[in-house]
Symmetry: none
Subunit: 131 residues, 3 copies
DNA sequence: GGCGTTCTAGAATATTCGTGG
DNA sequence: ACCACGAATATTCTAGAACGC
């Protein structure tokens, strides 16, 4: 697993996509883990089922941690937003443990769009940006 | 449960409508619960019949509580007003348990108007509003 | 389960301790759930084992959610700090899923100290604090 | 210097309780 | 007695900050 930002993808071409995004893409695509993380039906978002198992079983295979919270922090750093379903949120919880995230440029079948997903920079006054 | 403003509705398009309003809309529209909550005849208000059953059976499917009072508090937070019936006041109470609420922008057949319904903010001097 | 701040505790005396703190105390004390949440050996902190099971099995019995993240947010709101263990960080994962939190006034055998734990208020200029 | 991981906080809505017109 | 609202806590989603690499 490549950790560098300037890496060779599995397809063999050079890219400037951060490791998190290529790993996320691989994760969502991988049919072996579709029961824990997979594309939504229309391919415009992805679902994580059973956060606990996902965190403990899948995350450490790609990242240096096994915490859902760290995974979510990265998603937000890259501009992903949680998709809220009104089905959730009741006192009664018939639904399975289902978390959904979406990004304008994270679309099934359009891997090249990953290059448009940018990591957010700190909001602290960036002196170096003036020069 | 995030009841955030940036959510995808069940129709799959992005909206800025708070969860309470989309849930309320769904609730009133749902034919399954028309005996407990439904549109008025002309579609300019909605009725709740049998507060007790509505609170215990319907509310917990969408909200994290089963109290009519909490539901009403939210309605007021969003500017809904109770429609007062003349029939009140008699010692006898022949009428069925019927509560009616109304809002200028809550109209049957005009879901897009939900975006005009604004939640009230605290009255405690909002510093950020000055900038 | 009492949710009010001004409630009668199980011991029967009145208190001004927020529901979160009394629930947390009950949770940690309860021997039934010691395998998921319990006091540390010296009683100055508490441990949560197996976040996933704790969140899904224990939290909803006391709170209106089943998310570890919401539980942690409340802990931080009340000034609890995570106790960091040296053992963390290895790629190998010999240790069990163990999360530890501590607060100066959360001490086994001293329930009355809960009254000194204060919830943090918003940082947005609190006008009423000037009067 | 940008990226990754962790812990804590910000901000908006949600739920509860009480009070005043 | 009723209805609208203030205020405090609770829940959720996102961001700040510190640190290491």
């Amino acid at each position: 697993m490549q950790d560098s930002a300037n890496s060779l993808t599995m397809d063999g071409y050079s890219s400037n996509v951060p490791a998190f995004l290529t790993k996320l893409w691989t994760l969502v695509e991988d049919p072996e883990t579709n029961h824990l993380i997979c594309w939504s039906t229309n391919g415009t978002s992805f679902h994580v089922f059973d956060q606990g198992r996902f965190a403990k079983e899948v995350l450490p295979k790609y990242f240096k941690h096994n915490n859902m919270a760290s995974f979510v922090r990265q998603l937000n750093m890259y501009g992903f937003r949680k998709v809220v379903n009104i089905e959730q949120g009741g006192l009664v919880k018939p639904e399975r443990d289902d978390t959904e995230f979406q990004h304008l440029y994270f679309l099934q079948g359009h891997e090249h769009l990953l290059e448009h997903i940018k990591r957010k920079v700190g909001t602290e006054f960036q002196l170096h940006l003036l020069f």
